[in-house]
Amino acid sequence: MSKKTYFHAIKLIPEKCTGCTKCVRVCPTEALRLRNKVVELDASRCIDCGKCVAACSFGAIETYADDLQVIGKFAYKLAIISTSFAGQFGDGISYETAKRGLLHMGFDAVASEAMVTEMMGLMIREYVSNHPHIKPILSSNCPSIVRLIQVRFPSLLPNLLHIEAPMSVLATYFRNKICSEQKLDSSEVGIFLIVPCVSQVTAVHQPEGTYVHLEDGAISIGDVYQYVMANIKEIQADTTPMEVYPKGLSWAISGVEAEEVNDGSIRTMDVSGVHNVIDILHNIENNQLGVYDYIVLNSCANGCVGGVLNVENPFVAISRIRHLMRNATHKDFHDQLFIDLYRQDRFNVIPLEPRPIMALDDNIKNALTKMKQINEILEKLPGLDCCACGCPSCSALAEDIVAGKAELDDCIVRMRRLKETNRGE
């Protein structure tokens, strides 16, 4: 199968792992196994959803994001902040102040995802009307969902919106703008995303479907929060004006994008939480949701405010973002360079390749033989999906046994029952 090596923004710390299997059970792609008392990751299956990070109570799964030091090597440094950033700071700290903190961290300029969400809505509507034969179009904002479709639902890859996510659209726009305005070579311009989740870190380090180099690193919202809080006096004393686009902030919240894209002429839906998304993708595969034109899919419950690199509880973040939107005046973003780049298809994505992980073998005949063996083994297993063997389910154990990665005796429930039966005789 695929020999490609995959980058992941999570790291397992074996010394801290107690073998509790909580992470194994929550993984939506069955990428984790407990072997020799320590958890292991199958890099080809992982979609960077971060569910395991949230599930671990022992700090044995760490997240990775770039260190602030990486920005040093660029002549001009731009930070692009995710919409969920605005929900992280308490009432004493304004959104402008929080944003200004990034200038103090060493960035030359700060842009926000919120700036472009309205334009994204127009672009998505145009894409939907240009592709009437594809129903529904699926959003591509969430890198975990893009990878989920590649590994588990490759038949739906043509349904993906083939436009970059808002932050990557902005990266393309600003790279062009900065290079021409500042007379700099692209290699001298460092563009960094301030991200709410590990999948965004992975997307920066191993992008899918990009035509050109976009971003130079991804810094965690948590790290920026830490810096701002530690230097708050100094940042608050600074009066440099910061542009904000309050209306667009709502994209951090599941349920909003679909409403904003919908101008009344199409049908849209928002889905959040990876298990809900999997259900919906199954339905789409059966053609059950063909009446929808556009469906927004987010791996995290409630949208990007639920990402593991945020600091604040998602519901508090949602309430703060809504408060900000209510009390601010709306500002339009209208720029000729942006429109030109869009008309030149510079925000487009290359059609994505499947990353099939499901097949038991490259050869269908061999795969069928293996499936038969798996079914025979399954009859011997208790069907409890207790995870005590270290596999997420009895069927996963049966697959591992046939693949030579586990043994029937790994099932302690079966062992125990056999022992009881023998004693009875």
């Binding site: 097949a359 069928l368 079914n375």
Partner: protein, 163 residues
């Protein structure tokens, strides 16, 4: 009793060979479908879809199987008094045989016309009965056979080749 045969153009030889040689399936799967059990409808097609993903069937073919099988499952749920779905998986094709007892299909040719529906009000209230079931199955199938007796049983056989 009425019968309906359809084979996609170019697939005649393969379909005939399969029907004549009657090979043994490698994997078989069985499901029973309850009358008006809309809550569980989709389980059989979901499992069959998963099995095909695991044997590595091309994703475009998989989509066709998913659609045809789900439509057939919904048809039994909506129209019949219950039935069975039996899937035979071979190295080069999948055969899905759906049998039910129920009203039977009076005029199969007419049911192949998109939009024609015999669904009851109850079924339509559930959001089904748009009259696209059989046409959709046919569109996604390489070989289709239907045999039905009014007031008796219906057998529907779907064959889809992986290549």
């Amino acid at each position: 009793m009425s019968r309906y045969w359809y084979t996609r153009e170019g697939m005649e030889n393969r379909a005939n060979r399969f029907r004549q040689t009657k090979p043994q399936p490698v994997i078989t799967m069985d499901y029973s479908i309850g009358q008006h059990d809309f809550v569980n409808a989709g389980k059989a097609s979901g499992d069959i879809k998963l099995a095909l993903k695991k044997i590595g069937v091309d994703s475009a073919v998989l989509r066709r199987v998913a659609i045809a099988c789900y439509e057939a499952e919904i048809n039994v749920t909506a129209h019949a008094e219950g039935g069975l779905i039996h899937a035979n998986i071979f190295p080069d094709l999948i055969q899905i045989i759906v049998t039910d007892t129920g009203p039977g299909i009076d005029d199969i040719e007419q049911c192949m016309v998109p939009g024609y529906s015999t669904a009851t009000d109850y079924v339509r209230e559930m959001g089904f009965g748009a009259g696209l079931g059989l046409p959709n199955i046919k569109k996604n199938t390489d070989a289709l056979f239907i045999e039905s007796t009014k007031g008796g049983h219906t057998v529907l056989e779907i064959i889809i080749f992986y290549e």
